[in-house]
Symmetry: none
Subunit: 187 residues, 2 copies
DNA sequence: CTGTTTTTTGGTACCTGGTACTAACTTTAT
DNA sequence: ATAAAGTTAGTACCAGGTACCAAAAAACAG
C-alpha cells in the first residue's frame, strides 16, 4: 500500500468514524503512530480532541467576532502623532439578529483601533475609554471616525474620537492610550 | 456560599454548558480545582472529555446557549434582569501583530455584549460606556466577565462589568444601556 | 550499483485535562 | 476545646496529543 492510497483510506475511516485515535488508525492501517500524525498533518485533519469537540458543538454557529486586521475599518487618512480618519461600512454580520441595529462594540472597535493607530509608538494599549453612543447605526451605513490627539504626557496620550454617519454624530469617545516600550513586550 | 449551594450552581452551569473544564468552574465558583473535582465526584458528574464525548455521540439533546452568536465570549451563567457571566478565550487573531497583547476592543466587546445580554428586553443598545483597562491581556488567557445590573429607571439600565484573568482584574466597565421598544425597530 | 531524496519510524520534552491519593490547613459544630 | 467536615496543596500517573530531532528504510535516478 502506498502513501496516497493510505491517506485516502485514512480520510475514509475518519469520515465514517471521527472517534478514532491515532493509535486506532495506526493499528488499522498497519503503520506507526508517527506516520498517522504526519498524514493527518498533511491532510490538515485536526486531532482527536478537536474532532470530538467539533462534532459536539455541531450546529457550527460561528461567533460574530470582530475583524482580524490591526484596524477595524479602513484607514483613509493618518498623520501619526496627531490625527487619523477611518471608514467602516456596516455589514449584516455586525447587526443584532432580526433588527438592523449595529452592535455597539463594532463602533467602539473602530474608534479604539483608530485611537491606537494615531499614536506614534510600536505598541499602544488602551487604558481608559469613555464612549457616548449618540444614536444607533444601521446596516448599510458608512461610519467615518476622526481621531485627534488632545494631550501627550510622556507615554500617555489622550485621544478624542468622533464618529459620524453623514452629518450626524453617532459616537464620541475619549481614550487614554499608553505607549509601551518595546523592551516591555513579553514573549 | 456554602457547599450545597455551590454544587447546585455547578450542576446548573454544566447543564447550560457541558464544555466547561474544572479550571473554568473553579474560576466561576471561586474555589480551588480540587474542590470542583470533589464536588463532581460527589455528584457523579463525569469529566470534561466524557461529557464532550457524550454530547458528540448524542446528537439528540443539544442544550444550546441562550443567546447563541450574539455574544462575544461564551455565556456560562445568565440571570436575565440581574447578572451574567461569560468567558472569552484569547486567540492569536485578537492580538496585535508580533506581540501577544490582546487589542482592547475585544475585551470591550465581551463586556459590552454581556451587559446588553443581561438586560431583559428584546433589543438593548449601549448609550454610554466607561471602561478602565487595568492590565494587558495575553494570548491564551481566559477572560471571565461578570455583569451586574446596578440601576434600572424605566428603559435605562446601569450595568457594571468586571473582567478577570484568574484573580487579576483586567477590565472594569460601566455601561448605560437603553432597552428599545419593539415598535421602534425599523425595517 | 551507488548516491540522493522521500518516506517512515523512534525517541524526547512538553501540553491539557484529567485520576488517585496523601497531607495539611481552615471552618463549623458541638 | 476538640472533633468533624470542608477545602486546598502537592505528588505521581494517564491518554492523546504537539513539536521537534535523528536515524533507518524505501524509492528513485544517473
Amino acid at each position: 500500500m502506498n502513501k496516497t492510497e493510505r491517506q485516502r483510506r485514512l480520510v475514509r475511516f475518519l469520515k465514517s468514524d471521527p472517534f478514532l485515535t491515532d493509535e486506532d488508525l495506526s493499528q488499522i492501517l498497519r503503520v506507526s503512530v508517527q506516520t498517522i500524525r504526519l498524514d493527518r498533518f498533511e491532510l490538515k485533519i485536526p486531532e482527536f480532541k478537536e474532532r470530538v469537540l467539533n462534532v459536539a458543538k455541531n450546529p457550527g454557529l460561528s461567533p460574530r467576532t470582530l475583524t482580524g486586521g490591526e484596524l477595524v475599518g479602513k484607514m483613509v487618512d493618518l498623520e501619526v502623532g496627531s490625527s487619523g480618519i477611518s471608514i467602516l461600512t456596516v455589514t449584516p454580520e455586525m447587526t443584532l439578529s432580526k433588527t438592523r441595529y449595529i452592535r455597539g462594540h463594532h463602533l467602539f472597535a473602530q474608534a479604539n483601533s483608530l485611537a491606537v493607530a494615531v499614536i506614534d509608538a510600536e505598541i499602544a494599549l488602551t487604558g481608559i475609554a469613555r464612549v457616548n453612543f449618540k444614536r444607533p447605526v444601521f446596516c448599510g451605513e458608512k461610519v467615518l471616525a476622526k481621531a485627534l490627539i488632545r494631550l501627550n504626557k510622556g507615554n500617555k496620550f489622550m485621544v478624542k474620537v468622533t464618529s459620524h454617519v453623514k452629518d450626524e454624530i453617532v459616537l464620541v469617545g475619549r481614550f487614554l492610550i499608553f505607549a509601551v516600550a518595546e523592551e516591555a513586550i513579553p514573549q
